[in-house]
């Protein structure tokens, strides 16, 4: 397939956000480099800069990792410090790639990258198969409810492009990830170095009949059936011009977090519970009678009721319950720990409230999905269950139902540090049936055990 730039400009339509996961040795940089390069997203001056920098380091071939390592310290140390975002396009689609580093700080970085991803690419070295790191990546993708997961079995050139090698790895991974509740898994045998099945179909693996990585990225559906979603609208800002031209305009501005809203629909405002009817939807200058996630719109209502930033508008027949007690899985992203009894701020959609950490019932080990009860605190990169009591009621959905209204941040009120990323409700899609491989340790109790 050849990609002409004119096609990119004219026909690229939808946007896919995806994340890559894999340690450096798995060939992630090479895969990212190849996707960028073969989609013409590496331009002459960037390549020249990489070649120049590679030469000055005494390297013979251009080091494509220099394309993605943007910071001085990263180049000096040859490591990737933080998530970076890359952009490329093909005739069919535009892509935002969250390039997440694979070194020790993996969890918070991958959680960050996966939080907005609709697809995650998990890389495996064909020679090593499914290893601890692979299971960790699958678990994070499952926790974050990334809708599509691609297993890229890399370095097929080093195992003689042997189908049985690929088939065994694909089966082991698919079984494991399915048990975690990953809804869709696509396994692709590739060689990022030689380009097999990355952009071009491989001549070395005629036994493989599936899509290349790029083809899959181009065709995977980006939005699901919104009619099945609970409609949610967090109010961001109240627009009241109070001008001669618009003396009575009162609109509630926000981005639809999930589902769709229609003119004429009866709605309930939370946490107050007041009801009204949608009389108008202004979609950035256009008056429409239906709007859906993730459109930024302004809703107008029939009644002048008290609504402000932080309130949630939902259809009256499908409003979430409110509660001051939040049970969730959190990934701890800060260097300072999170402890029982700690006073924090909880940011949920557009609402920030005071909260207190009542309990940390367990900490999860991603490697084997075992849980450690009552760890007392969570430190950087830990994932654990928490119970939080909030000062005001929140209209929180389960993260399983809505990534947008089921997620929250815990923030240190003293210095504003983002402490933890929270996902309300059950951790994984299936509450049991997860084989902990080595047998459950710590006497994990299956009753209500959802790690």
């Amino acid at each position: 397939m050849t990609i002409t730039t004119e096609q990119v400009a004219v026909t690229a339509t939808t946007l896919l956000r995806f994340a890559t996961a894999g340690s450096v040795d798995d060939g992630k940089s090479t895969l990212v480099g190849r996707l960028l390069h073969d989609s013409k997203s590496v331009l002459a001056d960037q390549l020249e800069a990489v070649e120049h920098a590679s030469r000055s380091r005494g390297q013979e071939a251009p080091d494509l990792a220099l394309l993605t390592d943007g910071l001085r310290a990263e180049r000096e140390q040859g490591i990737t410090i933080d998530v970076a975002y890359r952009y490329f396009a093909t005739p069919r689609r535009r892509f935002i790639l969250a390039d997440t580093p694979g070194h020790v700080q993996y969890t918070r970085n991958m959680v960050t990258g996966a939080s907005t991803a609709e697809l995650a690419v998990v890389l495996v070295d064909a020679r090593n198969g499914v290893v601890e790191q692979t299971r960790r990546h699958a678990a994070v993708a499952a926790l974050l409810r990334v809708p599509h997961v691609v297993l890229a079995v890399n370095k097929m050139d080093l195992v003689d492009y042997a189908e049985p090698v690929f088939a065994a790895i694909a089966e082991e991974f698919t079984t494991y990830a399915s048990e975690l509740g990953v809804p869709e898994i696509t396994a692709i045998p590739i060689s990022a170095l030689t380009g097999d099945n990355v952009v071009e179909p491989s001549a070395n693996m005629d036994w493989y009949g599936g899509p290349t990585v790029l083809e899959h990225l181009e065709t995977v559906p980006v939005s699901h059936d919104l009619t099945a979603c609970h409609a949610r609208f967090p109010v961001q800002y109240v627009i009241r011009p109070q001008t001669a031209e618009h003396p009575d305009y009162r609109g509630y501005a926000g981005q639809i977090a999930a589902g769709a809203f229609r003119v004429g629909e009866q709605i309930t405002v939370l946490p107050s519970g007041r009801t009204s009817t949608i009389t108008g939807i202004d979609a950035l200058g256009e008056s429409v009678d239906i709007a859906w996630a993730p459109q930024s719109v302004t809703l107008r209502l029939a009644d002048d009721i008290d609504i402000s930033r932080g309130d949630l508008i939902a259809p009256s027949g499908d409003a979430p319950t409110t509660s001051q007690d939040v049970e969730a899985t959190v990934c701890h992203v800060a260097d300072q720990p999170l402890t029982v009894g700690q006073r924090v701020l909880l940011k949920h959609t557009t609402r920030t409230v005071k909260a207190i950490v009542k309990e940390i019932p367990s900490r999860l080990t991603l490697d084997d999905l075992s849980q450690h009860p009552e760890p007392g605190q969570l430190v950087a990169n830990d994932i654990g269950r928490v119970k939080v009591r909030t000062a005001e009621p929140l209209a929180l959905d389960a993260y399983a139902d809505s990534r947008r209204t089921g997620s929250f941040l815990l923030i240190d009120p003293a210095d504003g540090t983002t402490l933890a990323a929270g996902m309300a409700g059950e951790a994984f899609a299936t509450a049991q049936a997860v084989d902990t491989a080595d047998g459950a340790d710590d006497g994990a109790d299956d009753e209500g055990w959802d790690f």
């Binding site: 004119e6 990119v8 400009a9 339509t13 939808t14 946007l15 331009l43 002459a44 001056d45 920098a53 394309l67 943007g70 910071l71 001085r72 410090i81 933080d82 998530v83 970076a84 975002y85 952009y87 396009a89 535009r94 918070r108 959680v111 960050t112 907005t116 559906p221 980006v222 939005s223 919104l226 961001q236 800002y237 627009i239 001008t243 305009y249 501005a253 926000g254 981005q255 769709a260 202004d282 979609a283 950035l284 256009e286 008056s287 429409v288 009678d289 239906i290 709007a291 859906w292 993730p294 459109q295 930024s296 959609t349 947008r404 997620s407 210095d415 504003g416 540090t417 983002t418 990323a421």
Partner: protein
């Protein structure tokens, strides 16, 4: 009343948004978050295409109410007259308030010294950071895009700056979902980049879709230029050309707008938006690689300036 806005027919789902609609929706969300959470936000407005798109998005985000932000321009004193004219006309048209921080005034007052190479881009940092402190701005919108430069690829949408406006790339807050954390201590501020996820092509396609007016220097025109450092610089009172440099009239346009001393023009016959978009889509050079002298100073030039408080 239309039922459905900008649905693309090629996708399976009737609820899929086009990539421009997705980016627009995200940027509007960012503007409204800042309006809801900060006391004194300001938009950096240079009259360049990215800041023009930012202002357009802000106008849409709060319509039919006015934009609840003021504008700030860091004027290097070496700006293109067409751009200054555009800037002032736009401010007037929308009834906005513009603050100007002047590099020339800092030089005249002896607080900044002209650089030997004549470029004033790095000199913008001090007037910018002092203006932020003086006006106590707590959120500063910039038009920076992550596709521009590899240090910018690491930038957050909400980027905390300390009381010296410094960026510490190793101490950035992880940014998850669309939950932006704008908490800051007094004296600190947050730089906000609503166009983070846009590419140069997205910006141009959006300008075309929304029929946004731009300064004419973005389109091909004849201009007296001279070659320096592999780029066409415009001749003018700012200090070019030198004795050894010869001026010639060429058909050129600008891909970026900045200080005249370091913003290069590209040879182009693109006089329409369609032609500009075709030209960018076919270009083998990045926007900054083609037109910015100051980024070529070292491998980490942008990172170093950003650390000091540059936008």
């Amino acid at each position: 009343m239309t039922t459905v806005a900008h649905v693309h027919e090629e996708t399976d789902s009737p609820f899929a948004l086009s990539h421009l609609d997705s980016l627009e929706s995200e940027a509007v969300h960012i503007f409204r978050e800042v309006a809801g959470e900060f006391e004194r936000p300001v938009i950096l407005f240079s009259g360049g295409k990215d800041s023009i798109v930012m202002l357009h998005l802000a106008l849409k985000a709060f319509a039919p109410a006015p934009v609840p932000f003021t504008l700030l321009h860091v004027d290097t004193g070496h700006n293109f007259p067409e751009v200054i004219e555009y800037r002032d006309r736009t401010v007037e048209q929308h009834g906005l308030r513009l603050h100007v921080a002047s590099v020339q005034e800092y030089i005249d007052a002896g607080k900044l010294r002209e650089r030997p190479d004549g470029t004033r881009n790095p000199l913008q940092t001090v007037p910018l950071t002092e203006a932020i402190q003086q006006h106590r701005f707590d959120a500063v919108f910039g038009g920076g895009r992550r596709d521009e430069e590899k240090a910018r690829a690491k930038e957050r949408v909400f980027s905390l700056r300390d009381e010296f406006s410094q960026w510490d790339p190793r101490r950035q807050r992880p940014e998850l979902w669309q939950l932006y954390n704008g908490r800051h201590a007094p004296g600190e501020h947050v730089r906000v980049f609503p166009l983070s996820n846009w590419t140069e092509l997205d910006v141009w396609q959006y300008i075309q879709r929304e029929k946004i007016e731009l300064p004419q220097i973005y389109f091909a025109h004849e201009r007296e230029v001279f070659a320096r450092g592999g780029m066409w610089l415009t001749a003018g009172q700012w200090g070019g050309p030198k004795d050894t440099e010869t001026v010639e009239k060429r058909l050129i346009r600008y891909r970026t707008v900045g200080d005249m001393s370091c913003t290069g023009a590209v040879d182009s016959d693109a006089t329409t938006l369609d032609a500009v978009i075709a030209e960018i889509a076919a270009s083998r050079l990045t926007e900054r690689g083609a037109t910015r002298a100051d980024d070529k100073l070292s491998e980490a030039a942008m990172e170093d300036r950003k650390r000091e408080g540059y936008f």
